[in-house]
């Protein structure tokens, strides 16, 4: 009994016990499945029968698979277009909502709303309907006199933009982060600049933007990773049609794993995707010292 009492009083015991639920969950639901998935990526597995070890076959097949390369291209396009656009809108709206006017609280909530509900299935289905031949977008254009019966989702050139716009519409979460960072910039800097005779544009470029670079960097990394991992919107709205012009690698992995039953190949695709995302993040971190301001205010 005394030994137990002593054990409970030790500070490290408390720490261990408090983190144990998380560690167990992390191990069981994350590490172990990842390990199994890594094993599957070296196998031939069709879910219905046990996996058969085949070595590097899956990876070799990947390099002669044109759909894989197309999907990586599409995913990069999606990420590298939607993320900067998102951040630009987030910054603009954050700057507009900086003043604490009576309605600013309400506006902040309203702009944040899409990023909460936007990832849902219901909104994705609604979005699909909006861009249909007889959908809201075409009807609004007709109202303004632009006669439009364009099938936005049927044209290879515009289908990806429907998905990009959906992603950019959800800029709310980045906006809030920018808002809090903007509020932290000391007002004295702006006062000093005004005394020196600079105008608003110069203040923005010389004070606001440089001091925001750490936040921009943080948002960029987070949003870029999320952009690469986008699945729901693509799967519900286009499933990769037309002609693979909107095939994200995540959706392709799903197709291979659960529609063609090449689950081993799907696992290999997932791990390659992980490597790609890791590489992009690494490159971003490496270029950090060139443009991110690390000092204080």
């Amino acid at each position: 009994m005394n030994a137990i009492k002593k054990a409970i009083h030790k500070k490290s015991m408390a720490g261990i016990l408090f983190t144990l639920p998380f560690i167990i969950g992390f191990l069981i639901f994350l590490i172990v499945p990842m390990g199994i998935s890594l094993y599957y990526s070296f196998c031939r597995y069709d879910i219905l029968s046990p996996p058969v070890f085949t070595g590097l076959d899956n990876f070799r097949n990947m390099f002669s698979d044109p759909r894989f390369f197309k999907s990586v291209g599409v995913t990069f396009q999606f990420a590298f277009i939607s993320v900067p656009l998102r951040l630009i809108f987030a910054l603009i709206v954050a700057m507009l909502l900086l003043k604490n006017s009576k309605m600013s609280g309400f506006y902040r909530a309203v702009y944040y709303l899409p990023s909460i509900i936007g990832g849902s299935v219901a909104v994705a289905i609604l979005w699909k309907r909006m861009f249909a031949i007889d959908g809201v977008v075409n009807n609004v254009l007709n109202m303004f006199g632009i006669h439009s019966t364009k099938a936005w989702l049927g044209d290879t050139k515009t289908a990806l933009w429907v998905l990009i716009i959906l992603a950019v519409w959800q800029f709310g979460s980045s906006m809030l982060i920018f808002l809090s960072a903007l509020k932290q910039i000391p007002v004295s800097l702006y006062e000093a600049a005004r005394v020196d005779g600079s105008n608003k544009v110069q203040q923005f470029l010389q004070i606001t933007l440089p001091l925001l670079t750490p936040t921009i960097f943080f948002n960029l990394i987070m949003q870029m990773i999320n952009g690469f991992l986008a699945f729901t919107q693509c799967y519900i709205i286009t499933q990769g049609k037309p002609m693979d012009s909107t095939l994200f690698t995540t959706v392709y992995t799903y197709q291979q794993s659960f529609e063609f039953y090449n689950t081993g190949y799907g696992a290999a695709l997932a791990w390659v995707m992980l490597a790609i995302i890791g590489l992009v993040t690494l490159v971003l971190f490496a270029t950090k010292k060139f443009w991110v301001y690390e000092g204080g205010y």
Binding site: I8, A14, D46, F131, L153, P242, D244, E259
Partner: protein, 447 residues
């Protein structure tokens, strides 16, 4: 004191979470297969899954509720989904051995599921009378057998059915006759487009079925053979792609934009009955006979939907009766005997079939088919007449179940037709590509 208390609380929380998790793991491990005894006190819920349209879901659930009443079961948990999602769900369920008790099976996947020991062999239940198949045509029973063992009971017969809107064909003054050829089909589609502006949809998105149908016109040929495509050369595939090419060039084929906005293979969104203008509508739909009732129910009043055969070079060789709506008992069922009883109920109970009313195809038990004949609506009678009078006398045996690799080749076929419809590929190229890549995929999948 505070630290001791909080640490103890966390430890208790942890312990309770772990016991809860292990309890769940323990429950699924306790399912053992009960051989041939029928336990009379099974009040547990039975899980049945199927795919289908609104009409089918309602009728099936009603029939299952009747079974639950008659057999003192608390509740039958019926889960349904669309065709595509159904197979994905079933595959993942089989990996975790959480398959529902009774699953709807299809000819396409019967082979794979049976060979991987995921379905219960029903022969013992037939032998001891739980599953009574005496009134069923032996050919139909054969359809559910793999390697001589009975894995599924097909509760309805299905045939390929071309459903067309007579209102449109009458307006265009064309006559649609049974067993027409591909050339006649293309001719008719062109005339209808010129005279009425309605376009044509030839099985876009599910085109592997019509290709299989066409390939069968050559004796002994099938689309998906053992580790290869069951055909001799790319020439056999070309006429199929040429129809799409012709349709796009002559303007009567439905634009793929319409399909970009839909859920694939949902009967309620078929361009035959769902669309806002003639350019987004089709006068025809390539479906199956047991979807005729559903599509009639989903159509609006001024559509007059009639039923005929898919076009082919040789109707007798191409047409077939497919054992459909197969039901199987999965190996994860806690009480397989009860599952077999459900199958028996489906086949032999007149009451059940009065609810289902042939929506799942012609009832396989001849006594039941006779008994419900008088209750059928006009559409249901038309379906049965079509199967029995038009197709049955003029058909050949169904091709073997599709082997592994067929799903990927089917996707390839649909991608190639998509490219032809967008004008970025010719029929010649598509046929060549399908022949080479298709053989490659089938060969690899069989290893």
């Amino acid at each position: 004191m505070k630290q001791k208390l909080s640490v103890l609380l966390v430890a208790v929380l942890l312990a309770s979470t772990l016991t809860a998790c292990s309890k769940e793991a323990g429950k699924s491990g306790n399912e053992s297969i009960d051989e041939t005894s029928v336990s009379n006190d099974s009040a547990d819920a039975l899980q049945v899954t199927w795919w289908g349209s609104q009409t089918r879901n309602e009728r099936t659930q009603a029939a299952l509720d009747l079974f639950a009443e008659e057999n003192n079961i608390n509740d039958i948990d019926g889960q349904f989904s669309e065709w595509n999602d159904y197979w994905q769900k079933l595959a993942t369920a089989s990996a975790g051995h959480t398959l529902p008790d009774v699953v709807q099976m299809d000819y396409l996947y019967l082979d794979q599921y049976a060979k991987n020991d995921l379905l219960v062999d029903l022969t013992p239940y037939v032998n001891d009378g739980t599953l009574n198949l005496d009134n069923v045509d032996p050919n139909i029973v054969e359809g559910g057998k793999v390697d001589g063992k009975l894995y599924a009971v097909s509760v309805g017969t299905n045939v390929p059915a071309l459903v067309y809107n007579k209102a449109i064909t009458d307006a265009a003054e064309v006559e649609i006759k049974d067993n027409m050829t591909l050339e006649e089909f293309a001719e008719v589609s062109k005339i209808i487009y010129e005279k009425t502006g309605y376009k044509t949809n030839m099985a876009y998105g599910t085109s592997q079925e019509i290709l299989q149908y066409m390939v069968r016109s050559v004796e002994g040929h099938v689309l998906f053979g053992e580790n290869r495509l069951g055909i001799e050369s790319a020439d056999e595939l070309r006429p199929f792609f040429e129809i799409y090419e012709k349709g796009v060039q002559e303007g009567w084929f439905l634009s793929p934009d319409v399909f970009a906005e839909q859920t694939a293979a949902a009967i309620e969104q078929d361009p035959l009955i769902y669309g806002s203008s003639p350019e987004t509508l089709s006068w025809v739909s390539f479906i199956w006979s047991n979807q005729y009732v559903a599509i009639c129910n989903a159509a609006n009043e001024d559509a007059q939907l009639e039923i005929t055969t898919w076009p082919a070079k040789d109707a007798t060789l191409s047409n077939f009766l497919k054992p459909a709506m197969m039901f199987s008992v999965s190996v994860d069922a806690a009480n397989p005997a009860m599952g077999a009883k459900v199958l028996d109920f489906w086949t032999n109970s007149t009451e059940a079939n009065k609810i289902l009313l042939g929506e799942r195809g012609v009832p396989i038990s001849e006594t039941v088919a006779d008994e419900i004949a008088g209750l059928l609506s006009e559409e249901e009678q038309k379906t049965i007449e079509f199967v029995n009078d038009v197709v049955k006398p003029n058909s050949s045996p169904v091709s073997p179940p599709y082997p592994e690799g067929s799903a990927e080749v089917s996707e390839l076929i649909n991608q190639l037709t998509e490219q032809i419809c967008y004008g970025s590929m010719t029929a010649e190229e598509a046929a060549e590509r399908l022949f080479t890549k298709g053989n490659q995929i089938m060969g690899q999948a069989a290893e």
